[in-house]
């Protein structure tokens, strides 16, 4: 390959690395996006300079169509839909990689027969990862968008079916590596890879989506790397490896934050069974109106707010900011405690709170806030459940036993905004709601927090 093109690719790779480096902090992160964009431009320009690439018209049409779809997608996407968008973009990326692999495969098939080739091994790995990530991401998107149930879907004999699909994919894959000219095997291989992706995501529930999205991110990266091996392109190898590592690190962080293993997340069918207590065992809880809750909050000097997926569902983040502003005006020290797995993707809550103009230095991570909670007057839980369930800490037999939680039960007063007494995703009861110091604020989060903010505003006036 032309050294100029190689050099452009090298600079692009360096810019991608710088982009990730600058992402470490909000003050430099936008520079990171800029670096990434310039890197991408150089990579595309370099590719267009390849002597054998001649059909510019078609390429420009494709680039234009992609931009015309991509730009409105980015501008109009509501922040609450970020997890869905991410899943969908993993699907697009994986599809592109799978299709490129398909074309490369047919090129090789024409040249066959010849001996074992490394390019073919890399191609098979690329297509397996690409096609399974494509359907898995589409399925994850459908679950997040609630086109299908967010609960795990477990069919009888599912483990055996997965095993059969796995063996089938590897079997046809190996056969194609040995005999690329057997093109009849190729559609079978692709079909198995596509089915495998669906089978992998079916048993995974909505609340485990942060881990799954991170893992799919990793697969898409590895597929790009495999493509780099097949095409002998180091830029693709480097970028794929960075992406693969990124998704993997995030998935590990998510698993640790739930005290669960990869195997448990992927195959555990977590949240499958709803333990619905009999009607006889309803226990009394204290509930409060917005007025009562406001009178507790206005006399507090420190408040910790714990947001969860419920805040995203009811789009309550702007009302939460109203409450934050009013409390801050009164001199109340307000902090937000973010559990790593709150929401449907890593960092979901941070983005929503940022969207509502809440400054990020008011946001605290779980480890940092737990030490402060015993001195906190009011812990206000908004649409979070399992991540504040004390039984994770106290009851090793609980299905969420050992999962690190935000210890709101140590605060002097606890308030929980919740629509009903229904259990959270783990399907277990939450002792927190029955504590004498807990006030249940029943209602839609957006309406209730809005009413609460109005009450405090009236006191401030």
């Amino acid at each position: 390959m032309d050294p100029v093109i190689q050099l452009l690719y090298l600079v692009a790779g360096v810019l991608f690395i710088l982009a990730l480096m600058w992402m470490s902090h909000p003050s430099t992160s936008r520079r990171g996006v800029m670096a990434g964009q310039i890197g991408m431009l150089l990579a595309i320009v370099g590719t267009l300079l390849i002597a054998n690439v001649v059909n510019y018209e078609l390429i420009f049409v494709a680039l234009l169509v992609g931009s015309a779809i991509g730009a409105p997608l980015a501008l109009l996407m509501p922040m609450t839909a970020i997890p869905q968008r991410t899943a969908l973009s993993h699907a697009f990326g994986a599809l592109a990689i799978g299709l490129i692999g398909t074309v490369e495969y047919y090129k090789i098939a024409q040249l066959a027969p010849y001996g074992l080739s490394f390019a073919m091994i890399a191609l098979i790995a690329e297509m397996l990862l690409g096609f399974l990530t494509f359907t898995a991401s589409l399925f994850a998107f459908a679950k997040l968008q609630e086109l299908v149930t967010g609960r795990p879907i477990i069919l009888p004999g599912q483990q055996w079916m997965n095993l059969a699909l796995f063996i089938g994919a590897i079997g046809t894959g190996v056969a194609l590596v040995l005999h690329p000219e057997q093109t009849v095997l190729f559609p079978i291989f692709v079909a198995i890879a596509l089915a495998f992706g669906l089978a992998l995501v079916a048993p995974i529930g909505g609340a485990d989506m942060p881990t799954v999205i991170a893992l799919l991110n990793s697969y898409a990266g590895l597929a790009a790397s495999a493509m780099g091996f097949a095409l002998d392109n180091k830029l693709l190898i480097v970028t794929g490896a960075l992406d693969g590592a990124s998704g993997f690190v995030l998935a590990v962080i998510m698993c640790r934050a739930m005290n669960r293993s990869f195997a448990n997340v992927l195959f555990g069918g977590f949240g499958q069974v709803q333990h619905v207590g009999g009607p006889g065992e309803q226990r009394p809880v204290h509930s409060a109106s917005p007025e009562e809750a406001a009178s507790i909050l206005e006399s507090a000097s420190s408040v910790v707010i714990v947001p969860g997926y419920g805040m995203a569902v009811s789009q309550a983040q702007h009302r939460v900011n109203d409450l934050f502003q009013q409390l801050t005006k009164r001199g109340v020290d307000v902090k937000f405690a973010i559990h790593p797995v709150a929401g449907r993707m890593p960092g979901h809550m941070n983005v929503l709170l940022a969207e509502a103009d809440i400054p990020y230095d008011c946001l605290a991570e779980m480890e940092d806030i737990n030490g402060e909670l015993p001195q906190t007057d009011v812990a206000l839980v908004i649409g979070a459940n399992d991540v504040v369930n004390p039984s994770a800490r106290d009851d090793p037999k609980s299905s969420i036993g050992g999962m690190p939680i935000i210890e709101v039960d140590r605060a002097r007063t606890v308030m929980v905004v919740k629509r009903s007494m229904n259990p959270g995703f783990a399907g277990i009861d939450n002792e927190l709601y029955y504590l004498p110091k807990t006030q249940m604020l029943f209602g839609d989060a957006k309406e209730f927090i809005g009413a609460l903010a109005k009450e405090i505003a009236a006191l401030n006036a």
Binding site: L20, A43, A96, I100, A241, Y360
Partner: protein, 103 residues
């Protein structure tokens, strides 16, 4: 020219892959959890560099109709990702603000 003939195994590619993987681990571990969502959309946009492979198969001299068709779809899909990925990352990052300093 990529894949005109099946390429053999180039050890330097594996070398590059492993080093880039280690670098990735170190870089991502340093990213504040605050920015995990934009991080994911940024890596997603960057991974759309797969567009390089798609451009080659679409624009190649003597590309078959199958290659042109699938390649075209691949370029569109990857371009959607890179354009929307970079734009939405920037849109998210613009929202992260510090508290205004009190006078």
């Amino acid at each position: 020219m990529p894949n005109a003939a099946p390429s053999g195994f180039d050890l330097s590619n594996l070398f590059v892959f492993i080093l880039a993987g280690f670098l990735g681990f170190q870089l991502i571990k340093r990213v504040s959890p605050l920015l995990h969502s934009p991080l994911m959309s940024l890596t997603n946009a960057i991974a759309a560099v797969a567009v390089v492979g798609a451009l080659i198969i679409t624009g190649e001299r003597g590309a078959t109709p199958l290659a042109v068709t699938l390649g075209f779809i691949a370029v569109v899909a990857a371009t959607i990702n890179l354009v929307s990925g970079f734009m939405i990352t920037d849109r998210m990052l613009k929202m992260f603000k510090r508290r205004e300093k009190k006078p």
